[in-house]
């Protein structure tokens, strides 16, 4: 007993470390449904994330429509206030119109897909910069399950990596843990698209790129070629647009060439996505 009393401070420190390592060892690289403790914590956080996301949307329209107009001449204050209110309404209307357009884009995409889909809103991003994922407001209760493909208005976004009852986390194609079997649309050359979490100077430096690997040296590829899903990985259906090729590197020796892929989808501004309710092959998530 006296030994334990003497080492109490050390044990206080070591026990959480060991517990964390146990949890860490339980974490699978494969996509999985949220465990009970993850679900409990997610359910604790989700309402706050939804509220903050709603406030930022409302705040954005109020800022654009009202606060940015503060500082007007006194004699015109009343008129300006009316004007501001109208501006606010206009901004709201524009916001609604833009949302409608985005949803219409998604719906037109949806009609071309042979799967049932669910429209979901992005409510939070990954707080760690080295991981690329976001949280959507649909989960197991809405039919969303792990490994289901997620697409945006412009192209592939990623797949569901963790599903809880009301929300799900989407692993983006730019995350280093993501890999997608793809083909070049023009030449049908096949390769593997892996995330790099690297930024590109294109699109003002805000876009992240993925890398196309295992592309045979003799494959016909050019800068600007469009990359689409092949469907061979049993997770993503074939023919979903992903992005365009940049910086094709073909070394003098070696079997493969590599290229960067700039996704069509801008993940930083994605607000709504479609989840394809497609059950993946249970073994398909391994390593992807």
């Amino acid at each position: 007993m006296s030994w334990f009393a003497g080492k109490k401070k050390l044990l206080n420190f070591l026990i959480p470390l060991i517990v964390a390592l146990v949890f860490f060892s339980l974490a699978s690289q494969k996509a999985s449904r949220a465990r009970w403790y993850e679900s409990a914590l997610l359910n604790l956080l989700t309402p706050f994330e939804v509220v903050v996301t709603n406030i930022s949307e409302l705040g954005g329209s109020v800022w654009n429509g009202y606060i940015s107009l503060v500082g007007v001449e006194k004699e015109n204050q009343q008129l300006k206030q009316v004007n501001a209110r109208l501006e606010g309404l206009l901004t709201n209307a524009q916001e609604t119109r833009q949302e409608n357009e985005r949803l219409r884009e998604l719906l037109s995409y949806k009609e071309t897909l042979p799967y049932e889909t669910v429209v979901a809103r992005v409510i939070a991003n990954d707080p760690r910069s080295e991981f690329k994922s976001f949280t959507i407001n649909k989960g197991l209760k809405d039919g969303v399950d792990v490994l289901m493909p997620v697409i945006g208005p412009r192209g592939l976004v990623g797949r569901v990596g963790l599903a809880s009852s009301h929300i799900a986390q989407v692993l983006l194609i730019t995350d280093p843990n993501s890999s997608v079997d793809v083909i070049i649309q023009r030449s049908r050359a096949r390769g593997l698209l892996v995330g790099t979490a690297r930024r590109t100077e294109l699109r003002g430096g805000s876009a992240f790129i993925s890398r196309l690997e295992y592309l045979r040296r003799v494959s016909d590829v050019q800068e600007g070629d469009v990359v689409v899903t092949s469907g061979f990985d049993q997770i993503y259906p074939p023919g979903i647009a992903i992005g365009t090729l940049h910086d094709v590197v073909s070394s003098r020796y070696g079997v493969f060439q590599e290229a960067d892929v700039v996704p069509f989808e801008d993940f930083q501004s994605t607000q709504e996505v479609l989840v394809l309710l497609k059950q993946a092959d249970p073994n398909a998530g391994e390593g992807s």
Partner: protein, 173 residues
């Protein structure tokens, strides 16, 4: 218990902010790490009751909002806490330069442990590449943020219900 509740609320607010408004601020790669700041502030306190539990809770909150394996943030933050506790008697955190250096080092340590664990977990070198690029600027940023956040959080840490709800007259007396 007071500290645990206080930092549970702080942790929820911090994680929600980091995953929404501060998700791409100040840049897409360098972010505010409000949880790390809180862990350092807790480790610097004289009274350590509920300290480890608060660190574990905040780490767990960070873990569930990320695609990182559960336990990663808990482990790395407990190590950072242990690091600060080990040196706390030897440093003078009140001096701004010392605060800058030690917070920067704690941030670096946090990232190095993250790299090692993620590499062990995934065997993916891309994480090492990404973290290798961002850990330096992130440490400098954390060190700069720590200059004003750490004193603020230490005051928050010493907040009690009594201080909050004591009648004004009594305070003046």
């Amino acid at each position: 218990m007071r500290r645990i509740w206080l930092f549970l609320v702080y942790g929820i607010i911090a994680v929600v902010l980091e995953s929404t408004w501060l998700a791409y601020f100040p840049t897409t790669l360098i972010r505010f790490d409000l949880i790390l700041m809180a862990v350092i502030a807790i480790a610097l306190a004289d009274d350590q009751r509920g300290a480890i539990a608060s660190v574990v809770i905040m780490g767990a909150l960070l873990d569930v909002t990320s695609m990182a394996p559960f336990g990663l943030a808990v482990f790395s933050l407990v190590v950072v806490y242990g690091f600060i506790r080990t040196i706390v008697a030897k440093i003078s955190i009140e001096i701004w330069l010392a605060r800058f250096v030690w917070v920067g080092l704690a941030s670096l340590l946090n990232k190095v442990i993250t790299v090692l664990l993620v590499f062990v977990w995934s065997g993916n070198l891309s994480f090492v590449e990404v973290l290798g690029k961002i850990c330096g600027p992130q440490a400098l940023f954390d060190a700069a943020v720590g200059l004003f956040m750490i004193p603020l959080l230490r005051r928050l840490d010493s907040l009690t219900w009594e201080k909050l709800f004591r009648p004004k007259g009594l305070v003046l007396e």
